[in-house]
């Protein structure tokens, strides 16, 4: 199988670097084009990027010459790691020109016909691509978004509980600094400190969560009819957003039923067999002091949401803690998994990967 060519918008930023790192040895996709701001355009990636992840930039991208933001691209698949302002109008322009655009930007995330896709949770939302193609006159192009990085562990841990009737959700986050990009948070602001505010974050958490957990009714996503209260904090943690969640559930299940729902949670085929899908979308820790950002953010190669401390909440009924790697499952890794699902479902014209085997045999008995 020849690999699909891939372009990355915003390739020099923190999330762009994470895309490059995760795609280095991807079995289906190959990075061939890199796009960044005018300041970087024309230089090779090795020259232009200040690499902020571990080690050195992968050899396969070092000599790629960076294209400016308004370039026409050749790669059929485009990942966008642009900041919100820069995403406009390029994401729409490229989808319009026939590219599959999987974006991490918040710009177009809440458009009615753009799926806010989290494969295990709402794979059926992918049908919005048909809606957008019909509505916008696109044939091969598409625009698929992934959510705010902080709501990710909330949605992943609550999705298996929809069967119990989610009514109220109260979230207090402790978010890693990498969520603010690079250079992002000043060290003077966060060392030996907590910042109890992140602009715009709480609104996104309160709305995107309900849309992602909603169901597709005809051409529209019907939001989950629950009430959400979200509070955001920035903490001196490199990667990994931790959320304390209280939730009320209509059917008042026993705690064991919740543990079982998490343990059995997979996603419908072919999701468990996609290259970037974790064996366990949700993993529960028995130890009372886990999950912890530094020790557990890389669980399942950063694609598993880890949960712990399930117990009664005197006010809402249930409470627990959840954690996701914010730049892997919460950003680049999710976009890649979304693209894998699009490919497996035949949405990428001229590219049909063979989804060889289920990972189910990897599961603990």
């Amino acid at each position: 199988m020849e690999k699909l060519h891939v372009a990355i918008l915003g390739a020099t930023g923190a999330v762009g670097q994470r895309f490059i790192q995760l795609l280095e040895n991807h079995p289906w996709f190959e990075v061939t084009e890199l796009v960044a701001s005018d300041r970087s355009a024309g230089r090779t990636y090795a020259e232009a990027a200040r690499w902020v992840l571990d080690g050195e930039p992968p050899a396969n991208v070092r000599d790629i010459r960076i294209k400016p933001l308004d370039s026409d691209l050749e790669a059929p698949l485009v990942f966008s790691a642009l900041p919100k302002e820069a995403a406009d109008p390029h994401e729409i322009r490229l989808a319009n020109a026939g590219h599959i655009v999987c974006t991490n930007a918040s710009l177009n995330r809440m458009l009615e016909d753009v799926p806010l896709l989290l494969p295990e949770v709402n794979a059926e939302h992918i049908a919005l691509v048909d809606v957008q193609r019909a509505r916008r006159g696109w044939t091969t192009g598409a625009l698929v978004a992934n959510s705010n990085c902080t709501i990710m562990p909330v949605v992943m841990s609550l999705a298996p509980l929809r069967q119990f009737g989610i009514e109220k959700i109260l979230i207090v986050s402790s978010q890693a600094i990498s969520g603010a990009g690079y250079p992002g948070v000043s060290a003077l602001d966060i060392l030996d400190n907590i910042i109890p505010y992140i602009g715009g974050e709480e609104d996104k958490m309160e709305t995107e969560s309900l849309r992602m957990l909603g169901s597709l009714e005809g051409d529209l996503v019907e939001w989950l009819p629950a009430v959400v209260s979200a509070t955001s904090n920035r903490a001196p943690v490199i990667d990994g957003h931790l959320v304390n969640i209280s939730v009320s559930l209509k059917s008042q299940p026993h705690l064991d039923n919740i543990l079982e729902a998490w343990a059995k949670y997979r996603g419908i085929e072919p999701i468990p067999s996609l290259p970037s899908a974790p064996v366990e979308p949700v993993h529960y820790f028995e130890q009372p002091d886990r999950p912890q950002p530094r020790r557990d953010r890389n669980y399942g190669k950063g694609m598993t949401t880890t949960v712990g401390r399930l117990r009664s909440c005197p006010l809402l009924g249930y409470k627990f803690v959840a954690l996701s790697h914010n730049t892997i499952r919460g950003a680049a890794g999710c976009s890649i998994l979304n693209a894998e699902l699009l490919a497996a479902k035949g949405y990428i014209s001229g590219f049909q990967p063979v989804v060889t085997a289920t990972k189910a045999d990897l599961l603990p008995a």
Copy 2:
């Protein structure tokens, strides 16, 4: 006025050191006896203590020879910074022997006749000293406790709102490492990390809060009839416990009414005139990203509870963030203020300080 002699139990630990630091130049009290574990007993303080606060141990304690835990003491006033296990039976023994014991330990905190005193909030609970004296046959002795350090900013910020009818309280904390004493938290556990669990903490927060906010009815404290859900996290912060609070208030006041309640909050006389009382028990920050532990824990010499981000909570009605210095207002500083109130109220036999002036003129107009 001759200063009152003071002994400190647990003088070599982190809270003991804070007592020593805060009492260095105290206008009423003078440290004359230091008590610690057998390992330290017999050595001078300078020899025995590994000083973990700034600079060096104050000159006035360096040469004091440490007494063992089971010593008889001379000082009329005793501050206890002992861990829970070590407090038994010495706090009761010393109160029984006629000493005023102001304790920071959790051991005897919830005894029915021990006031869990926070002067601005529940000065009238001090009458429990009369109850305990009558009941236990003490004449000059007394045992007065202060609360868990994490519930302190909750109680201080909610006390002015009792007038609105507090019904439900949901708290998620982000607690400093100094709350665990010294050596306490291992650096390997907390650097670049959050630990979403502190053993026993949530229970204390859910009960002590209601007792402290309660009213004295005859010989008993009637707890505030509210429901509390508390969640504890440890964060890589040296000092300062930050709490995200959601609260439902029966009378549904306007946000401005809450701001006004905080701004006007003092305590009854003579509290505002006590040496360790802050000018503002509660200070509200207008900036959206304050209070922050590192920048605001020392507000009001560490005795003010700072609050911020008052806004609507979609679930409980109101939410905001609060912060207190956990080893000053949340521990040693509160014990000292409690002792000042006991002295001003005539509970310390043979010692009647002159409370010279109100600090009211220090207040912003």
Copy 3:
């Protein structure tokens, strides 16, 4: 005595804020004008400055309206907290217009006729003000600089050892993030990390040290004839630059002679009596693990250089560790002390403070 009016250039930055904080209750100086970039000009300080120090901006500056960089100023004394690029041409322009400019910027620091003043160490260099006035035709104006913040603890701790014949100096620093200003160092770069490089820093340390330790010969500073090797590292520390120093001394003194030289070190009168002068310019810690940045940076209100671990160096003869608060003694505090010396010495036209008393009686016996 009426206080001298003072202007601060770069008032909204991290060092500018420190100037404001240190001058809040200064007995001689009063902040009346604030100058910053065009972005801030025209707004009040409370509106324009994002306060990054503790608490809130002092009341005395909140309503001062910020002037643009190219303003003519009224205050006779000007403190410059400008970044290097912005300092040009304003520092020279203002000195030329008759102002006393005490600068923290590196721009003009190594000009032959600009004293790189550290009062205890090289008070006689102040005579360069006469040289610059003569040479440049200034009557009341002057330009006085203080050094790079990292070389400060080196120079302060080595100055008392000049009597032993300093020949070689090897320095390895561990520098706080506040040395890079605000926002300065990205948290993603420094949390759980050390950066073994700070652009331009090592050169400054190797040259400024020798000029500061040099002696004034006629109109010129004759540099100390020693060889310096400096290595810079950035560490995850808020304030306080720590330096490991190895030094060779010609006369090979006993370690006790060095300890005595430090203990006796003051500065010539009137320096010990200036308002911002520390009681001890150099303080030695006996404990083997001190000084430490977090615990000792505020020693002597941040104006004392603390040293420790004096021992033999198998290569250079002697080694020890030294620490200074980089934004107090290493920046704003030093500029203020320089201005106090200029005032006491009669260099500020029309302003002659009464240096009331020596602090010598504050010294330990």
Copy 4:
């Protein structure tokens, strides 16, 4: 090939956990016995160990029941992660009983007949095993040590420079907290701080370095005849010891010669083909601000020493920065590599692995 059974002494500690993690899928070795203090003995590993590394303890050790320290063991190969005091007398006892003991403890490290083995640097020191067997009457037993974790990056980066005549070495370290074990360093000591002292560390660095860089002459290691000055600091970094090194070299090579010596440095066969050997023992970073602990400690799976910033030192001639992962290359990983070399060289009775292929083809051209 059947895997060789392996026991781990001190299995529940931080270095013990690292041994378990690194051996989880080792091609030659299989963990079958775990030994720890009496407190843990008798319990399964999952019960006894508080896992402080990422995720959860590997499945292959969870149910192994821990043996007490004085047990007789079955595994031919024993890795010791014991603290110094606990190592006595068990390491000698087990070697005496016929086991190959690869130890990370400092207890027996400097015994004349115990090789302080670092394969790429001093593989020939392995002949001391023959010496110890002859001298002590051992047939299958052996005791092989690895060095202090901080000297590791010094020795690895200097070994390729022995050809230039090393004369003087000045080292200033910035050491990670994991070097102190678990719980080890208190968070209250190290957050926002540097501790300029680690007990006993500097002595070890000054002696072990010269022994490791020495040559075997008959039955003795002749130490490298150089002078070393070492200074230790503890920094708020999880893993990765960084050292600033100044060195004088007799033949005064050009900087390019040094870069070339590092780039070409391997070890003699079969070292580059051993399972745990890195492709590059030493890797030089061109970027001026690398290597950095957090970003580069895992280079070469934590077995590569990374270096950077090679430049002139005004005092000693050359200076640069070096970094090693202290619990991988500096502890468990090095012991495992040592055991692999012992196996490949036929020192482990009854176990002769097939060293299948060189990794040389993995090298960049």
